[in-house]
């Protein structure tokens, strides 16, 4: 069994990223959209880790960025869920199609 190289991990993260994009564009449930965003974020985190480990193993920048990114993702999730709950109270639905008042 060979140890996974940089390209393996990048392949996984790219797949994760496009799964997230696909989900974000096709699903209707806002909670699911939020989950898709988390997927996208995590693919990016994976990239950070991978590049850090394989290209500059003596440095820690990638790890720190990942930590930051996780913290921000947590905060973002909290805000997003608050918005979604509020939307639900007004529209009795968490369907993204039902929240389109912000237009011209």
């Amino acid at each position: 069994m060979t140890t996974p190289g940089l390209y393996h991990i990048l392949t996984i993260s790219t797949a994760l990223f496009f799964i997230g994009i696909y989900g974000f564009l096709t699903r209707r449930n806002l909670i699911t959209l939020l989950m898709c965003i988390e997927l996208i974020l995590n693919s990016v985190n994976l990239n950070f880790i991978a590049f850090n480990k394989y290209l500059w193993p003596e440095k820690l920048d990638g790890l720190f960025f990942t930590l930051f990114s996780i913290a921000i993702a947590a905060a973002e999730a909290a805000v997003a869920i608050a918005i979604i709950i509020h939307l639900y109270r007004n529209h009795h639905s968490v369907d993204v199609e039902s929240a389109e008042e912000l237009k011209y």
Binding site: L25, L33, E100, E101, K103, Y104
Partner: protein, 643 residues
């Protein structure tokens, strides 16, 4: 030496304007009049003491009246050499003018206390009077051309406000607009004149400007006389345009049309603004710039003289036929201003040749007093009979004894009967004309005859002519606030003629003694008496002589009655030519090209916005899709095309 307290003279009336204008409806109400009058009384006292000290204590140095600058500050520094300043220039004519303005304004304030007390907008009336007095004092004390121009416009505004005081009357509104537009048109010339002169002299300051443009060998003067436009040198243009501004304010032909209409304002206002002070601003301006006219542009001074003489004669003729008491007085004012202007026009510079200059300002002074008194008297008469028309008056001498007496004094003074003040000043003007240009002497004599005739036509029509009327009304001149100003001005009219004026005001500041030649005075006085006798024959008793003669001279009488159709000419030119040719084509360009361009831009934007607004659908996922497509396109571009 002059004190900075001179600054208070114009500033106190400004307070009298600001306080009621900002809070008059709530704070003072009925006390506004007394408040304003008190402030002005302080101003007047200061002005009189300033003038007294100037003339008799510190003004003269080596026998020449000096110019003093008690206050000076730079207001707008435009470049290193050019700045617009604010300052006070004290010399014989400004010292004279502050006294005239303050005294007449104080009398009008006092009179208005009684005359205007039932007015709805009593507080605003006094506020406007305060604004006017402030601007007029600022005008006469100005130390440079630009400052005088600002105050010049301010008096125009306050005149506009006061003519249109009864803004519920359409005629008053029209008169206010007419006055403003005509004087504003003249002020356009004034402004261009200021620019032309100050460009040549590289200074706005009176003293510097006059010095640079009158020194025989100065480079500025050479420059100004050699550079020309349309074959006329720029100094001539400057003087001519300055005179145009003065002619507009002073109602000289052909810019006189606003003054008779301005009589729509309250009568005390006519006394203050349209008889005694504002309308002589043109005379003051020429006097202020006199060395320039006399030494730099004598050909303009000739134009000044002809304009003045023509106006004097022309207005006197019209005054003989008008039937509205205030309009007769208005035309008489125009005629007298014509006198002052042509006296300046015939005057030389320096010594006894400058008699015309001195006489002109003397006439300004005496005329201000007795014409203000005549207008205030006319106010009492109008108040009593409730009409401006002469035919509604007659036999009022018992009902209005004080008005009768003071009006008679005013008429005698205006006709030039000794020992009243008008005699002395008019003699001075006639003597100056006789010595310098006899042609003007002839016009002056004939106008004096007409003056005596129309003034006594007025006097006899109002106070004699018919048996006593309106006996049901309570006879009497009104309260002390009405009669006191009349009596004070009458006293002034009786004594002011004896002031040795040449000792105080002269063209170059060097006093000279102007002696009155008794032999010379005989002819004008005889002519005045002839005019009075003619008026006596026509109007002392109600008879048909006047009607007979007006029928005989029908064509001429009618033309004169219609003021030589000048207004109609202006209406024709403005309505038919300006409005139709220029106005309509300008309106077309405005509507179709200027507006069209703008509205096409607007409607084009609207169409475009309508097209692209569907992008903003509010659908989150479609935004994301477009965003993604954009990113992919950019990545494609950067990868394959841009390196």
């Amino acid at each position: 030496m002059p004190q900075a307290s001179i600054l208070l003279i114009p500033l106190l009336p400004l307070i009298g304007f600001l306080v009621p204008a900002l809070g008059g409806k709530t704070i003072f109400k009925k006390q506004t009049g007394w408040f304003a009058t008190f402030l002005l009384a302080v101003s007047t006292a200061l002005a009189c003491s300033t003038a007294w000290n100037y003339f008799f204590s510190y003004g003269k140095e080596n026998g020449i009246y000096q110019k003093h600058f008690p206050f000076h500050t730079t207001w707008l520094q435009l470049t290193d050499t050019l700045s617009i300043d604010m300052g006070i220039l004290l010399d014989p004519i400004s010292a004279l003018m502050i006294v005239v303005v303050c005294i007449v304004s104080l009398m009008v304030h006092l009179y208005s206390l009684g005359y205007m007390k039932h007015e709805e907008r009593y507080a605003m009336y006094f506020a406007y009077l305060g604004l006017f007095t402030f601007s007029m004092l600022g005008l006469v004390l100005s130390s440079n051309l630009f400052q005088i121009y600002m105050f010049w416009e301010l008096v125009g505004v306050s005149s506009y406000l006061l003519i249109g005081f009864y803004f519920e009357r359409p005629k008053a509104v029209a008169a206010a607009k007419k006055a403003f537009i005509v004087t504003r048109f003249a002020d356009l010339g004034f402004l261009i004149g200021i620019l032309a002169l100050s460009y040549q002299a590289e200074s706005l300051d009176f003293v510097t400007l006059l010095e640079r443009l009158t020194q025989p060998n100065s480079t500025y003067l050479t420059q100004a006389t050699t550079s020309s436009f349309l074959g006329i040198s720029s100094i001539t243009w400057g003087c001519l345009l300055l005179f145009m501004g003065g002619a507009g304010k002073s109602a000289l032909f052909p810019l006189h049309i606003w003054l008779p209409d301005a009589m729509e304002g309250p009568t005390p206002v006519s006394a203050l603004i349209h008889a005694a002070t504002m309308v002589v601003a043109g005379v003051f301006l020429i006097a202020r710039m006199f060395p320039l006219y006399a030494l730099g542009a004598p050909e303009v001074l000739d134009i000044v003289a002809y304009t003045g003489a023509f106006t004097a004669l022309f207005a006197a003729l019209i005054a003989c036929t008008q039937t509205d008491i205030k309009r007769v007085l208005a035309y008489s004012t125009m005629s007298q201003i014509g006198f002052m202007i042509f006296a300046l026009g015939v005057s030389g510079y320096g010594g006894t040749a400058g008699l015309g200059y001195s006489a002109s300002l003397f006439h300004l002074f005496t005329h201000a007093l007795f014409k203000a008194m005549l207008f205030l008297g006319a106010g009492s008469i109008i108040h009593f009979v409730h009409s401006n028309e002469l035919k509604d008056m007659g036999g009022l001498r018992k009902s209005l004894p004080v008005t009768h007496l003071t009006f008679l004094i005013g008429c005698l003074a205006l006709s030039g009967i000794p020992p009243f003040s008008g005699f002395f000043s008019k003699e001075g003007i006639l003597l100056a004309a006789y010595q310098q240009k006899p042609f003007f002497y002839g016009i002056g004599l004939f106008t004096s005859l007409l003056t005596a005739f129309y003034m006594f036509r007025l006097y006899f029509s109002v106070f004699w002519n018919k048996p006593q009327q309106n006996t049901d009304r309570i006879a009497g001149d009104g309260g002390l606030t009405i009669t006191l100003p009349l009596l004070i001005l009458a006293a002034g009219t009786c004594v002011s003629g004896f002031i040795p004026f040449g000792q105080l005001v002269s063209s170059d500041g060097i006093p000279f003694s102007s002696s009155l030649h008794l032999g010379f005075a005989v002819l004008p006085v005889l002519l005045a008496i002839a005019g009075i006798s003619l008026a006596f024959l026509f109007y002392q008793k109600d008879n048909l002589r006047a009607a007979y003669w007006s029928e005989k001279l029908k064509g001429f009488y009618k033309t004169t009655y219609h003021k030589f159709y000048i207004d109609e000419c202006y209406m024709y030119v403005t309505q038919k030519i300006f409005f139709n040719l220029i106005g309509k084509s300008a309106a077309w360009i405005d509507r179709n090209i200027v507006d069209g361009l703008l509205s096409k831009t607007g409607s084009g934007t609207q169409v475009l916005a309508e097209k692209i607004k569907s992008f903003q659908s509010g659908k989150l996922q479609s935004y994301t899709t477009w965003y993604l497509i954009g990113i992919i396109v950019l990545i494609g571009l950067f990868t394959f095309f841009i390196h």
